[in-house]
Subunit: 317 residues, 3 copies
């Protein structure tokens, strides 16, 4: 067993520990460190398709291994903090290109770059007291999305209509589940529900925050008159789900005040997501989770300045 203070090589880790770190890496996409959550998330990925599952695990492993080789902080490593960006990057690559040896090599290199960017983001943002969130993934995936051949034709961004969007019950249900599923690029209702159950295993607060974030996002998107089919695909809500988990269940202590604050942030993330899509689509890009990252940074940075007497905004993590 490793002695504290000693330099530990990845090879000295027990297989069970490696598996747990791997699952935690998947769970950290939704800011959870529970391996059980990671296990349910992994099942949800394979429920999407075996390619998504395999590339998600491959990306997480590549990024974690690169971080270990480059000598990253061991504590963050065992919590899975070096895996989630690689996991999302691997999925983003296989969704866009198809599974092949060539894309597998790309996923491994991209995962390694993620671990360098995570270290950079940790240093640069640490001074501001902000977490890196999924920014390394967004940078790598954004660069690849613009540089690589696009499989689908880049479509024109939808023009929202003036007036409230009405959703059928089926669309509403799909939107609720897909808002959660799209965090992992998944668009089937059962994958979204599996992810929600995975969150519930780790923390009831996180699951409740995700569900509320999804509802808030649907209401906001409907009020903005955004197209019903895209709302049902979950394209406007996955950032709100992550914002809600981050602000209400992870970085701030949950009180009625912070719940209202997180709701405002989730509302704000929806036009931000729509704007980023309109901006990125002409060049075949995607906002990925940038709207989540930027909204959370801004609302976290504002939190101490807006502190109320008797209510403390504290970072739970």
């Amino acid at each position: 067993m490793p002695v504290a203070g000693q330099v530990v090589q990845p090879g000295s880790w027990a297989p069970a520990e490696v598996g747990r770190i791997q699952l935690r890496g998947v769970a950290q996409v939704a800011l959870s460190a529970s391996p059980w959550t990671g296990l349910l998330f992994t099942i949800a990925l394979f429920a999407g398709s075996w390619q998504i599952g395999v590339y998600g695990l491959l990306g997480a492993a590549a990024s974690t291994a690169a971080a270990a080789v480059l000598g990253a902080d061991r504590d963050g490593l065992t919590k899975g903090l070096e895996g989630y960006c690689g996991c999302l990057t691997g999925i983003a690559i296989v969704v866009r290109l198809d599974a092949s040896w060539r894309t597998a090599v790309l996923a491994v290199i991209a995962g390694a770059v993620c671990s360098v960017l995570s270290a950079a983001a940790g240093r640069l943002l640490g001074r501001l007291g902000l977490p890196a969130l999924t920014a390394p993934f967004c940078l790598v995936a954004g660069a690849l999305a613009s540089a690589l051949p696009t499989s689908p034709a880049a479509t024109a961004p939808p023009i929202p209509t003036v007036g409230f969007t009405a959703l059928s019950a089926a669309e509403l249900g799909r939107a609720f589940c897909n808002d959660i599923g799209q965090v992992f690029f998944l668009d089937t209702w059962y994958a979204g529900l599996l992810l929600l159950v995975g969150l519930l295993v780790a923390s009831r607060t996180a699951a409740l925050a995700a569900a509320c974030g999804s509802v808030v996002a649907i209401l906001t998107a409907c009020a903005m008159g955004l197209p019903a089919d895209r709302i049902a695909e979950g394209l406007y809500g996955y950032n709100a789900v992550l914002v809600a988990i981050a602000l209400a269940a992870t970085f701030l202590t949950l009180t009625p005040w912070t719940a209202g604050y997180a709701t405002l942030a989730a509302v704000a993330s929806v036009p931000f997501t729509a704007a980023w899509q309109a901006f990125a689509q002409p060049s075949g890009g995607s906002p990925f989770t940038w709207p989540f990252v930027v909204t959370t940074w801004l609302f976290l940075a504002a939190a101490p300045a807006l502190e109320r007497p008797g209510i403390s905004f504290e970072k739970a993590k």
Copy 2:
């Protein structure tokens, strides 16, 4: 009356004080804290159209109220520093969409988001010794501009011609006034003049800086060969006006050196504005006052490093 150190609820303020804060919020768009300036600015807004006036006041009120509820710094609040971004956001919304209950609700929510972003900007930029300026407004208005339906068709950016642009005397007069008016999205000569008088009430230096900034911008735009009709609309000069007020009359002590430095900044803001318009227009966007914000940040950040012996660059505010 509130005792120092006690927590003050917005409800405990006298109506006269609330009105003064409201007017200061409008005045702070041009970096002034005088309620008389705010009164003249408000008249100029109503001279543009009653909708612009109402939404400007509504946005300023929403943003100030949200900041008060969220517990923002009372000193900045009474100076109107929580109002100006909401004021501009309200105007940007009513200019793009039309006045209705729905856009009024949007203006109130957007104003509230502005106050959160102002707090975040204050904290993040405060470490660098830089003011937030209108960055929160630019972020909110930029996101809404991309996300919301565009009323006018997005036009192609104009292609500048090689050669000096010649303006008629009428165009010159309109350009001079509109450079100031466009700070508030106004494009009538009398609105611009009213704003200039409003500045004069608070500070002769600020009014002179605004006038000089407008002249410098017109000369630069003509030298660049930009189209005459857009110069006359004030589309290239409103950032230069704000840059001149910020550098020559607000944040640096006015000397011949700083006047030259502010002139260079005002000149630089014109191609920057034209570039940002060319960049943002294909997706129906607008640079808003980003060129002013970024130019002022860079020239303020450079000021201490470029300090000359015997001449101090000091922040007047």
Copy 3:
């Protein structure tokens, strides 16, 4: 002779010293402070065309003179650190527009703005322990590229094909030289070789890093299936060359580990460059050396966090 501590006016410098600073300004484009390197670089510029040579020297002189007038740090000034951004800006202007009195005035003003931005970047980035690199040039050139009339028609970005790109021996040779030449917007093989010899004069490590960076970039671009003619023009590799010089020969101590780290950075810069081109081209823009700047910042910021026991990441400069 100037006494230490005394304020020195540019006029008091000997012509030989002024010439040496001027050449160092050109050399600093490739992070070298040797006047001999600058001399060979200048010859390479004139080998490209006399306009490129004249505007490069004009821009470097304007930027250095403006920095001297504005009172910049004398130590950086004599090392040429105030000249390289102006040099690149002057070349960027004459490549896009043609040589005339009007563009010469533009190059002088743009060079002066560069010196202000360098001071700002030094202050803002200095707190993060990061160098300014060519960021001031990228900002000024990017603004001008969007604002000014485009001489060539903006072409659609190339769509990469899936599969390895095969290069002929001639294309390979051109790609190797142009990857170095394109740092200065040069696209003839002898100019690239002259630059390489210039680097060799100052430091064998830097020349080796540049050559390896070029090779790595060609391999990466071919593996990505990018079009052969653009690879041969050096459009994907000039950032990798600069990244390799910066990481392997300038800011980190060269060890097998840092060599691998620099290789990963050079690989990452190629899709980043392709992405930035795809993004900027619709509006007639260019990535300039932004991909070099951002990649180097991120990998430098990550370096201390990834420090291995027994291997120190130290800044050589």
